[in-house]
Amino acid sequence: MTGQDRLERRYRRLLAFYPRSFREGHEEEILAVLLAGAAEGRNRPHPAEVVDLLRRGVSMRLRERWLRQSAREARRARWLIPLRAAIGLWLVVLTGVLCFFGEWWAPVLLLFAAIHFFLSIRLLKSRPRPPSPG
């Protein structure tokens, strides 16, 4: 095994810290840049290069995980939109019925109805924003 092969194997080991989606698209390309930039006769990555690859790889992985997680949460939150709207509507109807039977305090329920409507609209509008990459 030549020094170049050894260097390449070490770089590949570092690139394993990147998410699979990035490696599938860019591993060969980034490897070409790393090897082109390595000094002649070098068989170990420069320490600063090691730190850079670890940092970027891990932060890309965390970012990807965050995006997946927030997509999952957004899907889950979508369920709550009709549910909250229905509860709000039900409270409005209940207030009307209670007022009809002379319960003077019933309009207080409208406050809770408003909270449910407000949260439902906010969920409808909210879109998760990814953290900016390092």
């Binding site: 060969e28 980034i30 490897l31 070409a32 840049v33 290069e49 850079d52 970027r56 932060s59 390092g134």
Partner: protein
Amino acid sequence: MGIRSMQETTFLILTALAGGSRHGYGIVSDVEQISERRVRLRAGTLYAALERLSGEGSIEIEREEIVDNRLRRYYRLTPAGGERLAEEASRLHSNARAALSRLDPRGGMAPT
């Protein structure tokens, strides 16, 4: 990009691509030359920036080549990327001009 100013590495990468399409290592050497050997991009930093810039639509892949069994992907500036770079360059230019005019010899603080 709005009010937030661009990072220097981003600015230099876009400037390198303003001179025509380049592959990864081509960008590294061009940035080194533009910055008069002050900035040497690391591969991890370069690809984090390229990912972000393609996501934003400032750059795009132009073509791919295999040279010595190694993949080379060429990137180029999109019209939107060119606009962003032009805006940032004129902002930097006007700031630099203001600074230099205040350091004018007549003001008694000549830059060396």
